[in-house]
Amino acid sequence: MIIETISFVLIGIGCALGVIGAIGIITLPDTYARLHAVGVTDTLCTFLILFGLGLQADSYTAVAKLILIFMFLAFTSPASSYALANSAWRWGLRHNQKIHIQTIERETPSRSNSTQGADQ
């Protein structure tokens, strides 16, 4: 009984993290900010939901499959986030003009139209 309670608490926290990441992907003003919101919350959301499901499993096969799913997602989610950010940066996508950092402003003082891919 108490194991089920702990399980559903973990699943609830994981779903709340997922919804927070989804709100972040809608409301944040920049591609890199959206990538940060999703990439941070996604791994912990996966871990909490799969751990909460693993507490309810009644066979070792289901636990092994859940561990496989979690390990694969935990390895590939930061890798795909890094590949996405690296590809966007190498392609030339710059920060939004309203939230830029200072080194970008000193680097490109004259190219005011170089942020068209980031703002909307």
Partner: protein
């Protein structure tokens, strides 16, 4: 016990709907790839939740397969955008770094 699974599935469905919104109205192609990545991860979690909700643990195999397909799809789409530059040039942006200019 059933209502908790339904609430968790509804929360994941809301997150997937918001991801689809960002994938539809994303200004650059990287936003769309990011939204599709998040959609795939949430689909994996939703399939795992449904496997425990219905009691059929065989659906976890489909969940594992979907996570594999998600990662391969994201990397393939990124390779296409970075090397082929098919969809990335449709916004009139001419800022391409010199280190990626020798790619063809």
């Amino acid at each position: 016990m059933t209502i908790y699974f339904l609430v968790a599935g509804l929360a994941i469905l809301i997150a997937m709907a918001l991801g689809v919104c960002r994938a539809l109205l994303g200004p650059s192609v990287f936003d769309r790839i990011l939204a599709v990545n998040m959609f795939g991860t949430k689909a994996v979690l939703l399939i795992a939740l449904y496997a425990f909700y219905s009691g059929r643990h065989d659906l976890l195999d489909i969940s594992l397969l979907y996570s594999l397909l998600n990662f391969v799809g994201v990397i393939a789409a990124l390779r296409l955008v970075e090397r082929g530059k098919f969809f990335a040039n449709d916004e009139g942006q001419d800022v391409v770094n010199s280190e990626s200019s020798h790619d063809n």
